[in-house]
């Protein structure tokens, strides 16, 4: 592994780790706020217990999110100092606003987690909402920074010097809206299905229903609504990419040859050497239709893009297939869930359906990771699209491989501990509810 590959892998590992905690940090506060609201309105103890139980789990996630985020803000410099030296002043605006959002989030979190019984109940509830809103805001801001790397604007380069810097224009770059919308929805989908799946499994195992049923309803309903919106927003994102980063789109679709009536390629194994895709389902004209709204218009293929500006095709293509496949599946299940709620259908609590939900629970997060692989690997070889190459940005310090393995060790042990702690929390919740509500169901 050379230093560049090590640095890229370390960045991918850290971001891929952080995004899980960031999603939970953004979304769980909303779930808790809903449950907390119902408790305050109805006084039903189960909802209070649910809120407290969730907040215990979330505290573990928050700290992991906070420390991994802290590592990221150093890592950007540790790995890509030459990029940050130029980019910092240009795309710094969202980061400085994000700093404020994080701070507010951290303060509100202090009130929320430690404030039970200490404040007016509605003030306490409100601090929980603030945690969610500021978390969401920071997510959107940091994605706007990432979008700028895909669609750099707000500066000119004159004789190799970055001048006429306009941080506001850089923040509202061409890609920020489609990425931020898609990411926000993704966080709701991933967290909603993950949490819902865990509670579905608990119901199936016959654990105290008065907690797990409301938990399932809150989380999965929100997740389902977001899942239905997901393909719409994804379609919008794809059209955006086609317009702004044709190389990325071509890699996503494994679309090697520029052609009219371009086919939509589903699945398959792309072969970069022969520029063909084997074993794929091809829908003639499909790609042209998705991008341009008719079945004939030409779509640019990789052959028209200089060889040294091709992103890795296979990884990008697989990532895209995984994301879209999961997106379609979750949309379907979301529709079934909402239909069941509407009709009060008994299948919602049928063991097979609960098992299905449990099985689906990791998929949202897998889609999130796959989507980021599409975005980031599809941007290669550029760190700043069309302007700076990743290879030119990497730190001159040798031996990044050791740093990479160190990070692998750190993240591996953190994942193991967080997983074990979460499992223990769920068990502890069961014990507690069994003691307090002797055989209600």
């Amino acid at each position: 592994m050379d230093d560049l590959l090590a640095a890229r892998s370390q960045m991918a590992l850290s971001l891929g780790f952080h995004i899980i905690f960031a999603c939970i940090g953004m979304i769980m506060p909303f779930f808790m706020a809903i449950s907390h609201y119902i408790y305050l309105k109805t006084g039903k103890e189960a909802y209070k217990k649910l809120t407290v139980a969730w907040s215990k789990g979330v505290a573990i996630f928050f700290v992991t999110g906070a420390v991994s985020g802290t590592m990221l803000s150093f890592e950007l410099g540790l790995l890509w100092p030459k990029f940050m030296e130029e980019a910092g002043p240009i795309f710094g605006m969202p980061f400085s606003l994000e700093g404020t959002a994080f701070f507010i989030e951290a303060i509100a979190l202090g009130f929320f987690l430690y404030g039970w019984g200490k404040f007016h109940p509605w003030f306490h509830w409100f601090t929980g909402v603030v945690v969610g809103v500021s978390g969401l805001a920071s997510g959107i801001l940091v994605v706007a920074a990432n979008a700028w790397m895909n669609a750099p604007t707000g500066f000119d380069i004159i004789d190799g010097v970055y001048t006429n810097i306009d941080p506001i224009a850089a923040m509202f770059n061409e890609a920020w809206f489609s990425q931020a919308l898609h990411m926000t929805l993704a966080a709701f989908v991933a967290t909603g299905f993950a949490v819902g799946g865990i509670h579905a499994w608990m119901i199936r195992k016959g654990k105290s229903k008065d907690i797990h049923i409301p938990a399932l309803r809150i989380s999965l309903t929100i997740g389902a609504v977001a899942a239905i919106l997901m393909p719409l927003s994804g379609h919008h994102a794809a059209k955006d990419v086609a317009h702004r980063q044709p190389a990325k789109l071509a890699a996503m679709e494994a679309h090697f040859h520029t052609e009219e009536r371009a086919a939509l390629i589903i699945g398959g194994i792309p072969d970069e050497a022969t520029q063909t895709v084997n074993y794929a389902i091809k829908i003639p004209g499909g790609l042209s239709y998705l991008i341009h709204g008719d079945f004939v218009t030409e779509v640019k293929g990789l052959e028209d893009i200089p060889q040294d500006e091709h992103p890795p095709v296979a990884i990008t293509h697989y990532g895209f297939q995984i994301m879209v496949g999961i997106g379609m599946l979750l949309m379907l299940v979301g529709l079934i869930w909402l239909f069941g709620l509407w009709k009060k259908a008994p299948y919602l609590h049928a063991p097979w359906f609960l098992a299905l939900l449990a099985l689906l629970s990791p998929l949202g997060f897998i889609a999130v990771e796959a989507g980021w692989v599409v975005t980031e690997v599809g941007r290669q070889p550029w760190i700043l699209y069309g302007i700076m190459r990743t290879a030119d940005a990497v730190t001159p310090m040798p031996g990044i491989v050791y740093s990479f393995w160190l990070y692998v060790a750190v993240y591996l042990s953190l994942s193991l501990i967080v997983g074990a702690l979460l499992a223990k929390q769920v068990k502890a919740l069961d014990k507690e509810t069994e003691q307090l509500s002797p055989k209600t169901s």
Binding site: A59, I60, V63, T64, A66, V67, T70, M71, S73, F74, L76, G77, L78, P81, K82, M84, E85, E86, G88, P89, I90, G92, M93, F95, S96, L97, E98, G99, T100, F102, F103, I104, E105, A106, I107, A108, L109, G110, F111, L113, Y114, K118, F119, T163, I165, D166, P167, I168, T395, M397, P398, S403, L406, V410, L414, I417, K424, Q425, K427, A428
Partner: protein
């Protein structure tokens, strides 16, 4: 605007040293506590720090963001030449933060506790040690921008007596801050006496470590003392810090905990001030050159938007942060015998 941003930079550094430092210090105190009393110290630490842990930690993020947005040259130089100590600092921060929360949220209070405690205590040393090493290297002139070999570029600048002595000094300061802070949180007379004893020891340690810093500076030919004595204002700062020391002890004996805390905060601020002012107007000293913050600032459009973001941010942050700290402040314990 540049001046405002520089002020914010120093302010967030100072806040991190004070609040983050007291936070690290709690782990250092735990290390020096006998096994019998460790559990109580732990509980008290948790109650005192739990609610403000994340917020304390945010000052570091603000510092970093100011650096990479406003002074990218500082950020990239530190990132390149101090890659190794920065990574070790991060390791300390990640291990400590997670161990602190995990040990509380592990419902099974048995098996893993000793491991969490061990990690918590050692990383509480590691983090301020490397924080101090970074500061020490930055002001020492040991970074060689033209270094040719790996050790000269990436190891020798920080792996030396002076930076390490500043690291030890930072560790001692953190312990001192924490001890004084915890006296005010203590719920029983016994605990109070315990932390008072710690505070005395940490105070002595701080003074010893401070002397070590000057010794190291002299041995390595770093004009630290000369730099400080050059400016009347740093002399004043050091004198004020020394004078306020006995006053702190008077307040502590009379149970004016808040005043004692403020004085200790003042002392630490003065020390930090003197340290950085000794190289003024430079912010970083390299082997053959210096870096002056104002010259390294990003363009006016960036600085304006950064400054506005910071100013608007503080309108939201400072009042709510103050309210948070105030809300979770324990009523100080007042020994009956005193009245």
């Amino acid at each position: 605007m540049v001046d405002i941003i520089i002020a914010f930079l120093y302010l967030s550094l100072l806040m991190y040293l004070l609040f983050g430092g007291a936070d690290f210090g709690a782990g250092i105190i735990e290390f020096f506590t006998s096994d019998a009393k460790k559990d109580r110290t732990r509980l008290l630490t948790y109650q005192a720090i739990g609610p403000i842990w994340e917020a304390n930690h945010m000052w570091l993020i603000i510092t970093i963001v100011i650096l990479f947005v406003g002074f990218p040259k500082v950020y990239s130089t530190v990132s390149i030449f101090l890659h190794i100590p920065v990574s070790l600092l991060l390791l300390g921060i990640i291990a400590r933060g997670t161990a602190f929360i995990f040990r509380h949220y592990d419902p099974d209070q048995g098996k893993f506790q000793p491991l969490y405690n061990l990690i918590f205590v050692y990383s509480s040393f590691l983090s301020p040690l490397f924080l101090g090493i970074l500061a020490g290297t930055i002001i020492s002139g040991r970074i060689d921008l033209e270094a040719a070999s790996f050790p000269e570029a990436y190891l020798f600048p920080w792996l030396a007596f002076f930076p390490i002595s500043v690291g030890l000094f930072t560790v001692a300061i953190c312990g001192y801050l924490a001890a004084v802070f915890l006296i005010g949180e203590a719920q029983t007379h016994e605990d109070q006496m315990l932390f008072r004893k710690k505070a005395i020891r940490m105070n002595v340690l701080t003074v010893v470590a401070g002397a070590l810093v000057f010794l190291a500076a002299t041995l390595e030919g770093i004009p630290l003392l000369a730099g400080m004595l050059d400016h009347p204002i740093t002399i004043l700062a050091l004198v004020l810090a020394s004078i306020s020391l006995p006053l702190t002890w008077k307040y502590l004996r009379e149970n004016f905990h808040m005043r004692a805390r403020i004085l200790v905060g003042f002392q630490v601020s003065m020390i930090l001030f003197a340290l950085f002012y000794s190289i003024h107007p430079a912010f970083m000293v390299f082997k053959n050159s210096v870096l002056i913050l104002k010259d390294a600032a990003a363009g006016p459009a960036t600085m304006n938007s950064l400054g506005i973001a910071l100013l608007v941010g503080s309108v939201f942050i400072l009042p709510s942060l103050f309210y948070l700290i105030y809300s979770f402040q324990k009523k100080p314990f007042q020994p009956l015998a005193k009245k």
